[in-house]
C-alpha cells in the first residue's frame, strides 16, 4: 500500500512550474520554484503568490471566545463575532481542533477545515495593484491582523491581512475552486512582473 500523502489541489500545475517539493508530515509542500533568492527579491520588490494550502485550518462557529482563548501561537482570523478561522502549522490541525473543542465545550462547533480550503499568500509591495485587478473589495477596509470574507477573482474567499516585512494577504478559497483561483491569481501576478514563490521565501518575510 502506498503512503498516504496530501497535496495541494493544483500540485500538478506547480510541478509544471518547476516546484521543488519537500515533505512536511504527510504533506508535500512547495519549498521553492528553484531560485529562492529570486523569489525573495520578488517579495521585496514586486508581488508574488505562494501556495499555503497545507496550513492547518480550524473553523470555529458559535460562541467562540472560549475556544479562541486557547489558540496559542496559531493565527486567529476572526471573521465575525461568531465565526473564526484558526490557522496553524501544517499537520497541527488535529491538536488545534481538539484543544479548541475542549475549551468550547458545547458552545461552539469546531471543525478541521484544512481540506475545505486552498490557501494563497499574496505578498509584496505590488499587493495593492494586484488586488485592484482581482477584486472590487477595498483592502484598506481590513486592518492588519484582521480577517473578512470577500471575493477575489470572482471567488468568495476568507482573507486575513498579515502586514509583516512586506504586506501579506492570506486568501482561502474553497478547495474545488483552488486550481482556478491559482491560475487566475498567478496570471495577474505575472502580468505585474511578479511570480510564484515557495514556502521558504515566504517564511523569510517573517510569515508564520
Amino acid at each position: 500500500m502506498r503512503t498516504a500523502t496530501r497535496r495541494s489541489p493544483f500540485a500538478d500545475a506547480q510541478a509544471a512550474l518547476g516546484a521543488v517539493v519537500e515533505p512536511r508530515g504527510d504533506w508535500e509542500l512547495v519549498a521553492s520554484y528553484g531560485d529562492e533568492d529570486a523569489e525573495r527579491a520578488l517579495l521585496r520588490e514586486a508581488v508574488a503568490v505562494a501556495d499555503i494550502t497545507c496550513r492547518a485550518k480550524v473553523d470555529v462557529r458559535g460562541r467562540v471566545d472560549a475556544a479562541l482563548a486557547v489558540a496559542g501561537d496559531s493565527f486567529v482570523a476572526r471573521i465575525a463575532a461568531d465565526w473564526a478561522l484558526v490557522l496553524g502549522e501544517p499537520g497541527d490541525e488535529a491538536s488545534i481542533a481538539s484543544r479548541l473543542q475542549a475549551a468550547a465545550r458545547d458552545d461552539a462547533m469546531v471543525t478541521d477545515v484544512t481540506h475545505l480550503y486552498g490557501g494563497f499568500a499574496l505578498a509584496g509591495p505590488g499587493l495593492p495593484e494586484l488586488l485592484a485587478r482581482l477584486t472590487s473589495w477595498d483592502p484598506a477596509s481590513l486592518a492588519p491582523g484582521s480577517a473578512t470574507g470577500a471575493p477575489i477573482a470572482d471567488v468568495r474567499m476568507v482573507l486575513a491581512r498579515r502586514d509583516l516585512e512586506v504586506p501579506v494577504l492570506e486568501a482561502y478559497a474553497a478547495t474545488e475552486l483552488s486550481r482556478y483561483a491559482w491560475e487566475t491569481i498567478l496570471g495577474v501576478v505575472r502580468a505585474l512582473g511578479g511570480g510564484p514563490v515557495g514556502w521558504n521565501a515566504l517564511r523569510s518575510t517573517g510569515w508564520r
Binding site: 500500500m1 502506498r2 503512503t3 498516504a4 500523502t5 496530501r6 497535496r7 495541494s8 489541489p9 500540485a11 500538478d12 504533506w27 494550502t53 473553523d59 462557529r61 458559535g62 458545547d106 461552539a108 462547533m109 471543525t111 477545515v113 484544512t114 481540506h115 475545505l116 480550503y117 488586488l131 485592484a132 485587478r133 477584486t135 472590487s136 473589495w137 477595498d138 483592502p139 484598506a140 477573482a153 470572482d154 471567488v155 474553497a174 478547495t175 474545488e176 475552486l177 486550481r179 482556478y180 483561483a181 487566475t184
Partner: protein, 926 residues
Amino acid sequence: MTDRLPERPGEAIRRDRKVTLDFEGRRVEAYEGDTVGSALAAAGVTITSRSFKYHRPRGLLCMTGSCPNCLMQIDGIPNVRACTEPVRDGMRVERQNAWPSVDRDVHGWLNSLSFMMPPGFYYKVFQRPRWAWPLVEPFIRSKAGLGKVPREPDHDPREVVNLHPDVLVIGGGVAGLAAAAEAAGAGASTVVLEQRRDLEGPFAEAEAAGARVLAETSAFGVFEGPLVAAASPGTLYRLRARHLVFATGSVEQGAVFPNNDLPGVMLSSAAERLVHRYRVRPGRRAVVLTSNDAGYETARTLREAGAEVVLVDLRPEPPANADGVRVIAGSTVLSASGRRRVSSVSVGPPGSTGGDRIACDVVVTAGFAAPSANLLAMTGARVAFDESAKAFLPVELPANVHAAGGVAGARSGAAAEAQGRLAGLEAAAGVGRARADHAGRIAELRARAAEAGDPVILPPEVSPHDGKQFACLCMDVTNKELKTAVAEGFDSMELLKRYTTITMGPCQGKACMLASQRLCARATGSSFAGTAPTTARPPWTPVELGTLAGWRRTPRKESTMHDRHASADADFMWAGDWRRPHHYTDPAAEVEAVRTRVGVIDVSSLGKFRVRGPDAAAFLERLYPNRFADQAVGRVRYGVMLNDEGVILDDGAVCRVGDDEFFVTVTTGNTAALERWMTWWLADWPFDVQLLNVTGAFGAVNVAGPRARDAMRSLTGGDVSAEAMPYLSCGPLEVAGVPAIVLRIGFVGELGFEIHFPSMYGGHVWDAVLEAGEPYGIAPFGLEAQRILRLEKQHILVGQDTDAESDPYEAGLGWVVKDEKPDFLGKRSLEDLRRDGPRERLVGFTSEGEWVPPEGASVVHEGVWVGRVTSSRWSETLDTALGLAWVPAGWANDGTEFEIQFGGTHAVAHVATSPFYDPKGERLRS
C-alpha cells in the same frame, strides 16, 4: 505630408519618427504624436465623414473627441474618434457611411430629399400597407449608420482595475490638477482621471504631491455608490472614492447658421490644436467668429500660421488691439456656402437678412462653451440657470461631491485654479486630512474662486438666412426640424430628445445640448433659463463593449482528482459549475465494467454538510418530510427536501454519524442554494444546531459493481462484509491509510461503497482505488455511464427529471413523506396535493425500435401534447431505449402504450413502473 508648418518647440509630433497609415488603400505618412485626424488634415483630407441621415460632407470640427464628425473605422473597429486616436504604423483607416467612397458618396442625393424625411418620418410613412415597412426598413437602415460591426471575435485582453482613493478628481485641467495637488499634498490618496493623452498644465505639482494621474482615461458614468466608471484603451476602471471632485471643465460650442456643418467650419479647439500641437494649417483664409478675447487669441494663432484672418465680433465695441487683424464688430456669421468645403460666409448684424460675403476656406467659432456637467449630474447634483454665465451651473451638490473650474462656472484660469484648490482642500479635510493652515487657505481661496469673468455673449440661436442650420450633427437635426417637432406637440427637451434623437447620438449632447436648448426655448416660446438640459445618463464618452465586459473569468470547480482524470484522457463536461469527466473511454464499456466487474467514479462534487448540535435530528425532521429522529447512528436514509409548497428541491443521503451529528449530501448543482435555504430556516427556527458546508473538505469516490467488495478489502483492514457493513449503513473507516466516512449506497444499482475522505488526499486515494481494483478489472467511469446506469434503475435526477412543479407523489417518491409528523416544510401543501390526487406521474418507459427519444421530446395523445421525456438513453445491458417521462396520471400502469414525438419522428413507448434492472434491488443490497 503636404501642409506641415515649420517645426517649433512644444509641438506634439516627433518629426524624426515617421509612421505610415493605410488610408482607404492609400499610404498616408504621419509623425509619431499625430492623431489620425491631424495626419489626414496634413495630407489634405478635408471630408472626414458623411452625415448620419443626409450624407452631407463633414470635416474636422473639435479635435477633442466631442463631436461625431471624424468617426472612422480603424483597424476594423467602427466609430473611432480619429481626431484623438494616436497614429500607429500600419493602421488601417476607413471613413464610414458612404458608397462608393466618402469623397464621392452617391447617397448625397438624400440631402436634396430631406423634405421627405422630417423627424420621426419612419413612424409615419411606409406603415400602410403593413407589408411595406419590412421592405423599406432594410433600405433605410442601409443608408444610415455608423460603421460596420466587426464580424471577428475580439480577443484583445482587457483589464479591470478597481481603485479606492480617498479623493477622485475627474478632469485633469487647471482646476482638476490644482484640486489633486491640494488633496494629495494634505495626505489624501488621490487619483486624477484625464481623457487627454498628453497632459498640459500643472500636472507635475499634482504628481509631486503624490496624486496618481491616469492619462487617456475617460470617466463615462457615475453610478450608485458612488461608483465612477472610466475607461482607457484596454482597461476598465471602477473607482469608489470617499470624495469626488468634478473638474470636467466645459465643452466648446459652435454657432447655428446655414451650412454650419460644412467641412472647414470648426471650433477654436480644432484650429489651435492643429496649429500648435500638430503644425497643420487649418486653412489659408479664415473667418473667426467670437464674442470675447478668446477669438483674438485664435485669430493670432491662425495669422501666425500664415492664414489671412477676418475677425467677426458679436460685441459692438471690441477691444482696440487686434494686432492688425480686420475686425467686423457687432456682427455674426449669417450663413456659409460651399460644396465640399466652406468657400465663403455672409457676415452682418445678428438677424439681418443681407450681409457681406467674405471668401474663406475655414470658419472658426471661438469662445462659446457649455459647462460639462453631465457626469456631475449623474451624482444627483442639481443645476440651475446662471444669467451671468448664460449656462446651467451646479447649485446643489450631494454630500462628498465637489465641483470646480468650468463645470462650476469659472470663467478665468485664476478662478478655476482657486476653485480647484478649494475643492481639493475640502475633500482632503472630509477624509480627515485637513492641513494645519486649512481655515486660512480656505478663506483666501474662496475670495479668488468667486472672481467674475467677462460677461458671456452667445451667438444668435438661429440665422434668418436660408439653408440647413444644424443643431445636432450626430443625428442630422436642423432648427427647422426641431420647430416642426415642437409644432407636433413634442414641446420639451425630453420629448424632443425622444422624438428627434437630439443629444442621443455619439456626442451625447456635448456638441448640441446648448444649441438644442436654445432652439427648443425659441420654438416653444419659453426662455433658455426655463429649458433645462436633458437627463444625463452613461456613457458620457464612448466605451467599447469589450471594455465594459472586462475580463472573461469563469470560475470552475474541480475535484482534487482532476489531474488524474486529465492524465487518463477524460473528456470533461460542465456539471453545474463543476468540470467532471463525461467519459474516459467508451461509456458503454464503462457501463459494462460496473455491471460485470467494478467501476469507480469521482463524486466529489456532491454537496456535503455537517449538521451538529443537540437539535440536529429535530432540525432535519423539520427540513425534510422524512423521519430522522429514529435513525440509528451508522445508518443512511434517502432524503428528499421540499420547499414550503411541497415541490421537490433536492435529494441525497442523510447519514447519522453521531447522536447529535449528521453528514448530509445533496446534489452537485444545488449545494450553494441549499446552504442558503438551510441557513435561512436555521435562523428562523429555535434549534441549537450548527451547520457547515464541507463540500470541498471531502473528496468522494463511488466504488461500484459486483467486485466492489473485493476491491474494498484491498483498500482497508476494516470489515466490509455484508453483515458488518450492510446496505444503507455508514461509518468511519480507514481507506488507503486515510480516515474516511464510507456509505453503503448505490445510485448506479450495484453493490457500492461511497467513500468520503479528506480531499487533499485525492490523488492518493484515486491511485489506491485503481491499484486495489486492478485485479478485479476496475475501470473509471464518467457521468455518461452513470446516467445510463441510474436510468436502468429509474433513479431520478432532481432538476433533470423534476421541475418547479414536481411534488413527491407525482414523482413516485410519496413513500418518503411521513405525514404523521407534526410539521415539516411543505406539509400543508402536500395535504392539499394528496387530497386532489396527482395530475401526472413520472414513469419509466421503454420505446420500440432503435431510436432514442431525446430528452425534452413530447408525449402526445391524439396529436395533443400531454407530457415530456426528461431522461433517455440506449441501454446495452437491456438492449433497448429507455428513459423517464411525465405522463398523465392515469397512464402510470405497467405496459401502458403511449406515443413519443420529436420533430417528425415518432416512437411507441411502454410504461414501466419498476426499475428495468434488478427490480428487487438484490444486487444493491448484496
